[in-house]
Amino acid sequence: MSVLTRAEHGASRAASGTAHDGGNTRRSRTKLPPEEPAIPQRKGGTAGYWLYLLPGFVLLLVIIVIPLVFNVYLTFTRWRGVRTPEFIGLDNWVKIFGDEDFWTSFANSVWMVIAMVVIPTIVGLIVAALLFDVVGRKFGGKVGSFLRATYYLPQILPIAVAGIVIGWIFRPGATGAMNQLLGTVGIGPVDWLGQMPSALLVLMAVLVWVQIGYPIVVFMAALQRVDPELYEAAELDGANWFQRFSAITLSIIRPEVFVVTLTCTIAALKVFGPVYVITQGGPAGATLVPAYYAYTEFFTKRNIGYGATIATVLTILVVIVSIIFIRVQSSLERKERAGL
């Protein structure tokens, strides 16, 4: 299970001050070596270390585990948030499968995945390769890192603020920046957020804009691991840029592609802020996503049990996606090691 391997590698170097070859170290570090504790033991084995885990475990129990269990319990109840929850068995679970809004919200998650995973990963790969290979090599590393920083900028913007900016640019009527711009070329004001498909497209555009810097930065860091000699050898053998890219680069940075797709897919499933700020799920539920749906059930409609059911389905989905990704990656890694 080595999502984030590369980062760990970098961070571990930072921590230990021991730099290894820096080249092809790509083994998984998450599976810790099975040997003895690193500090020689006097008595009692590793048991004493549990004391150090105590604060973390207590907090985890109170803030994560208990609420999570409570939430699952709530899926079997009807509750308005006052008095005690009323046990109703599987009613919420039956209801959710016949609920059109629920299916719409998950269908919209697919659009969120396209906006936050598919497009950023593909475009990110291209931009990172260009920045590293063309800009960095021919125009200097400074130009490359400056452009990289520019692409990264929206990533550190609070998502709520990003949403406001975009909401303002696509404001209906003549005061929105987009409509102002279109007005100068004689196109009448468009109600961007009030109709389909533009509302969904605007939402997706925001997510692409926010997300794009992340894969670029990750992939550029990964590209440093590619041995230039490998490239030069391929070049001498007459491989063109695309052949070199697909045969060498892609196979070497595959762990990073995994990390990016996993983390972005999870983020896409959980997306809430932009929907809350920009479209409120509208027009008429057209941009509804599960997280926002659960939120409105909790706090607007006060159907706590039903909101909990939506949140639980979302959680199950996130866990399944994580497990699949981690499984696939570790099996690929095992194959690769066996092949070597």
Binding site: L4, A7, A11, R13, A15, S16, G17, T18, A19, T30, L32, P37, A38, I39, P40, T46, G48, L51, Y52, L53, G56, L59, L60, I63, P67, L68, N71, G81, K138, F139, L147, T150, L153, P154, P158, I159, A160, G163, I164, I166, G167, W168, I169, A177, Q180, L181, W209, V217, V218, A221, Q224, E256, I266, G273, A291, Y295, F298, I304, A311, T315
Partner: protein, 293 residues
């Protein structure tokens, strides 16, 4: 979240072999990347330019032109309406305490997992990782209910506790593998000199891993600053809100004029830009500290 991870490593490689000959195609490709970057920063440009316009100026000259005269009423409107300094202080207080506590918890956990190698550590790490990946919606109502019953609802400490746990979960995951490769000789030497575990943690492990911890600290700060759902839900009263929540709450008011919106966005972005600069430097430090051969 994971925005982080890679940046930790991201040091641009120097152009190999100096600058080689540039073909026309290289210029075309450069132009493409630059155009992409321009598209990315257009919204930032729009904010900065329009935050300093008067409504009349905006109506006549449009969003893309520079302001005819510097007009601060938009910014001032927003500043006063949300009591901006108060919101900035809330955000700094929450993010600051969270990042300190979360690093502390991460260090303790990672010490037990990475160096102590407690039994079942792979599962423990997975447990923490899942705690970080979970959708917050699945905890939202139970936490809301719990905080209400212990009288922490609408109190910044509710948000602080939640994010300490969420960030520490990620920190534990990352730091455990870092500590898993900690140089054994150092630990053995300290142990032979009679140091207890507690002393080894604070006199050996902590100082050496300080660069990594600094990076974690900065990221925890930024992530917490940017959080939206939990602060929106748990910080109901105006006086407790964070910057992103205050901006979005005001946004609900559709009557707000364009220049005030731009002003609010500008004020929302400035702290971010400051972090951006700090964080670039911290990361470089973190990287160079580790790169000494």
């Amino acid at each position: 979240m994971a925005a982080t991870t890679a940046i930790v490593t991201g040091k641009p490689r120097r152009a190999r072999g100096g600058m080689t000959k540039k073909r026309p195609l290289d210029w075309v490709l450069l132009a493409l990347v630059v155009i992409g970057a321009l598209i990315v920063i257009v919204p930032f440009y729009l904010i900065v330019v329009n935050a300093f316009k008067s409504p009349v100026d905006y109506a006549t000259s449009g969003p893309f032109s520079l302001p005819q005269a510097i007009d601060l009423t938009g910014i001032q409107n927003f500043w006063e309406r949300v009591n901006f300094p108060e919101k900035v202080w809330n955000s700094i207080f929450i993010s600051g305490i969270v990042s300190l506590l979360a690093v502390l918890i991460s260090v303790l956990n990672a010490f037990a997992i990475g160096i102590g190698r407690v039994r079942g550590r792979t599962w423990i790490v997975l447990l923490f990782l899942l705690a970080n990946l979970l959708p917050q919606e699945a905890l939202l109502y139970p936490l809301y209910y719990m905080f209400k019953s212990v009288d922490l609802y609408d109190n910044v400490w509710s948000v602080i506790i939640v994010f300490t746990v969420v960030q520490a979960a990620f920190g534990t995951y990352l730091l455990s593998s870092v500590y898993g490769t900690f140089p054994k000789e150092l630990l053995e030497a300290a142990s032979l000199d009679g140091a207890t575990r507690w002393q080894i943690l604070w006199r050996v492990v902590f100082p050496i891993s300080r660069p990594t911890l600094a990076v974690l600290l900065i990221f925890f700060f930024i992530w917490t600053w940017n959080e939206f759902l939990i602060p929106l839900t748990f910080l109901a009263s105006n006086a407790n809100q964070t910057v992103p929540v205050a901006i979005s709450v005001l946004q609900g008011d559709r009557l707000m004029d364009v220049t005030t919106t731009a002003g609010s966005a500008l004020l929302g972005i400035i702290p971010t830009l400051i972090f951006f600069l700090i964080f670039q430097r911290t990361l470089t430090r973190g990287i160079t500290a580790g790169a000494v051969k």
